[in-house]
């Protein structure tokens, strides 16, 4: 068994002067944040991944769920995850494009940052809802 933290660690380790490794780092960075955020969303926000056979992919579905959330901090995490997803797509499919090293490091930094943000936001949201329940 592995964790999203380990995937992010691999993303960092892949960063170097090789474009092919930097592309792989972008992919790993996206998947690290996807898994971390999906798990938090399941536990803290009651998120359910789409059923098999659903028209939408799990990736689209999660981003849409977050962006459509009423809390602004969650919407921001959704938007950032969407950016990582688009970058991952570019890194994996657009072989003719040039992907600069500094932008690969940026994607890894963004992934790390939104994983941290999601922990804080989802926990804060959980605390708020617990407080509200206690108040009620």
């Amino acid at each position: 068994m592995i964790t999203s933290k380990e995937i992010l660690k691999l993303a960092r380790e892949l960063l170097c002067d090789s474009e092919v490794k930097n592309r792989a780092a972008i992919g790993r960075a996206y998947y690290a944040s996807y898994h971390a955020i999906k798990n938090l969303a399941k536990v803290k926000l009651g998120y359910h991944a789409p059923e098999k056979g659903d028209r939408q992919s799990v990736h689209w579905h999660l981003c849409q769920f977050l962006i459509s959330h009423s809390e602004e901090s969650i919407q921001v995490i959704g938007c950032e995850l969407r950016k990582l997803s688009r970058n991952r797509r570019k890194a994996d499919y657009q072989l003719n494009a040039t992907i600069e090293k500094n932008n690969s490091t940026l994607i890894v930094a963004m992934a790390s940052s939104i994983i941290d943000d999601s922990k804080k936001s989802f926990i804060a949201l959980d605390t708020d809802s617990s407080d509200q329940q206690m108040d009620a």
Binding site: I67, C79, R82, M110
Partner: protein, 226 residues
Amino acid sequence: MPLGQPQKNHEAFLEEVFSGKPSEIRLQQIVKQLKKDKTSSPCDDAVHEVLGVALMRLNRVEQAIPELVTAFRMSPCESYANNLLLGYREADKLNEGLKFNINNLDYIRGCLATSVILAGDYSEHIIDLLEGDDVSVVRAALESGMQNELTSIFRFLVEITPYGTGYSFESDKEEGHWIIDISISLNSEESEAVSFSKQISRALSQKYSPEVLMKIVPLISYQVAA
């Protein structure tokens, strides 16, 4: 003005327009004079160029674009691309804007595509001037009915991003939807870029629907400022 002398006047007008922000009254005078020039020299692309630049300086981008497009159409001269670039930024930042190395037609077309999106003028006669990736983005916006949102988001991004920022567009289909990526290249440090990316997301999520945010995605990249 006698025939055969439009160039002199053109340069005088350009100098005036480039020297600062023209007033509305001065613009009217310029337009009046240009119309006179136009009568004497109807094919003078300078008419469109000068008028376009003046309108850009007054932030009347929508009116300026058709003029600049006409100027562009008449000549593949590099200077017209510079004029298109004026739409992005205020007059006092012009000199830095001209640091861009503008030496090929593809780049000029890219500028034109950006100007079309900025102006929100998606009319066929302008789109006909685009080629390759530039036209595909504009077509994607039209096909998906997102042209107003694309213009609105792009204008908003131009407004909030710092000077020195470069923009480019790409489109492809994902989950059966047209998706448009707006690539924003910042002159900054990495940590600033991470923070700025979130600020953009926060600002956009306050203004646009989830559907739009899924389909028009601003992608941040950065170059460390020299």
